[in-house]
């Protein structure tokens, strides 16, 4: 079984303003959830990094640094054969064609443009879509193999 269908209510839903000062809180939330789901510490850090980069992209490109806009973060645990976490990030910012969202050439050493590459490297599934009614959505999944889950997660009550 993969994760729950997106029509299921998320286990965590956050509505944050498009302000960089709230990135730290979002990172702490998702790292904490990932830890409880059984991810190893390095993978918790990668999930937090991916969320941070995704939110930065919305703030910089979607909302062009306007700070009074909303970003919605939804989180579902993935259970069964494919354990992990599923994260959906939605905004009402500028729409772009999903096919045009790609990493830049890393040989071109210059500041910026690394976020898409980092997300694709640290997450197992990444999917950009246009939202009906405006804005973009980004669905990201990180999987964890059963043998990799931490003792803390295995002790969690069902």
């Amino acid at each position: 079984m993969k994760g729950p269908p997106l029509i299921a209510d998320p286990h965590v839903k956050i509505d944050m303003l498009s302000q960089p000062r709230y990135l730290a809180g979002a990172r702490a939330m998702i790292a904490s959830v990932a830890r409880r789901l059984g991810f190893r510490e390095a993978d918790c850090a990668h999930v937090a990094l991916a969320l941070d980069e995704a939110l930065c992209n919305v703030i910089k490109h979607g909302y062009e640094k306007r700070e009074d806009q909303h970003i919605w973060i939804s989180v579902w645990p993935m259970e069964g054969n494919c354990c992990g976490v599923r994260i959906l990030i939605e905004d009402r910012g500028r729409q772009v064609e999903p096919a045009e969202i790609r990493s830049r050439q890393l040989d071109d050493i210059r500041p910026g443009g690394l976020g898409v590459h980092i997300i694709s490297q640290v997450m197992d599934h990444v999917e950009y879509n246009k939202r009906e009614g405006g804005g973009m959505s980004l669905l990201m999944e990180k999987h964890i193999a059963a043998e990799e889950s931490t003792p803390q997660a295995r002790k969690e009550p069902a």
């Binding site: 930065c56 700070e67 590459h117």
Partner: protein, 116 residues
């Protein structure tokens, strides 16, 4: 809109021909502008070597990395160099993912950075 929470404390220390910058705290999109300001101040004197001692930086995202890339490009224009030291595993990881670990000179300790 910047506020005090976006300020990143950065200690500057002159060591011979080198200037050591010692930021303290997480560096993300909110705080990288503050780091950029400190770097500009340090680079105004065109130090031969700019050392970033990152031992007190537990987290950095790509905006922080971009700020360091800018510093390296500025240093190259006046034939200076940039050295990074004291990187936490999580911070080193983002340089590796971005394949910038081969572009920056990265060493373990400040002493190595001073003699690199």
């Amino acid at each position: 809109m910047a506020n005090a929470a976006d300020d990143l404390p950065v200690e500057l220390e002159k060591r011979g021909e080198a200037v050591v910058l010692r930021p303290s705290g997480e560096i993300d999109l909110g705080r990288s502008p503050s780091l950029r300001t400190s770097i500009s101040k340090a680079q105004s004197a065109k130090p031969q070597r700019l050392i970033f001692d990152l031992k007190d930086v537990p987290y950095m995202d790509s905006s922080g990395v971009a700020t360091l890339v800018e510093a390296m490009q500025v240093a190259r224009r006046y034939h200076g160099s940039v050295v990074l030291c004291g990187l936490h595993e999580r911070v080193l990881s983002i340089f590796e993912i971005a394949r910038l670990d081969m572009v920056f000179k990265i060493v373990d300790t400040l002493d190595e950075a001073l003699h690199a």
